[in-house]
Symmetry: C2
Subunit: 186 residues, 2 copies
Amino acid sequence: MTRLKRADAQRNEESLLDAAASVFVTAGVEAPIRDIAAKAGVGTATIYRHFPTRADLIVAVYRHQVEALAEAGPELLASSATPFAALARWIDGFVDFVVTKQGLGAVLSSDDPCFDPLHSYFLARLVPVLTGLLDAAIGAGEIRSDVDAQELMRGVGGLCAGASGNHRYDARRLAGILVAGLRQSG
Amino acid sequence: MTRLKRADAQRNEESLLDAAASVFVTAGVEAPIRDIAAKAGVGTATIYRHFPTRADLIVAVYRHQVEALAEAGPELLASSATPFAALARWIDGFVDFVVTKQGLGAVLSSDDPCFDPLHSYFLARLVPVLTGLLDAAIGAGEIRSDVDAQELMRGVGGLCAGASGNHRYDARRLAGILVAGLRQSG
DNA sequence: CGAATAAACGGGACAGCGTCCCGTTTTGAC
DNA sequence: GTCAAAACGGGACGCTGTCCCGTTTATTCG
């Protein structure tokens, strides 16, 4: 087996996650690395060593919530009246998650290579879930069949991007309209 | 009347607009100021003097197309079979415009104060047009009546944000779905 | 036509940020 | 207790937006 991590390294990683979570709330997911390092009481190199890219850090901070979202898919499918209702509710949950994380929407719809690990993670974890929901709704004849889960996720992410300022902008409602647009007579 | 601009200043402004248009195409609307200045053969201060913020430069570069978009609203309304058809076609035009300008979508759904002049201009020029289209469609009973033009524009902008990479992502189709979601029975 | 003045210019100084290296400290095994 | 490896911290570097200042150029008026 591989060598265990040193105790101090593990402690630092936890401090870093706590600090990042805290800073993300107040300053968004694009807060300066230095701020996070300072809050955790470590040097900038340490954060860079534990989390090579900002995306890795974001992934680590929100892993639990993403997992919960992934698990919610099948559960909603089982507990909702129709697959379409499950889909709508899942999208609502996704929007709530993204919107409450300052700047996450923008990051999700950015194509900066720096965020590739984040995209990969979201895609790997959530696209299959959303695909399941879409397929069920398609199978039930509730929605059009030409929409790709990845495309829809990216679209909803984009919808959430400009939701920070309270410009009378309700991302959840818009996402609802988008989902409504999926309905079809066929 | 106010003093006329100096001839060289006017020439520089034109060079700057040409250079910016050219650089925007290849490097997106967030290309470094220095690159644009270099391409125009002027110093960085000159560009900064003519266009205090990046948003002002973007506005100047795309003014013609935005104007065209604004004028297209009433025309489409007059030439389309139904207000909803006009709305759908106008949104298509808007999406085409945004998508073909690298990074413009991201900028439109950003809330960086740096881009405020851009938001103001788009809002001032296009929101009334879109409101006209929406009102007509609402009046015809074709769509729901609780959607705000500004909100919709921002939403469509967000949809366009992640359209640069060819991640099998078709912003126009997604926007179409969103518009379809506006339809209603009542 | 030529000098004076105001406008405009160019390039560099400065600060903030991400990235990454290197001399130093800490840890854990023997 | 000793020592090699692992981890650390802070600073150097490069890139960017912002802005200032000494110089150049256009216009105007005698």
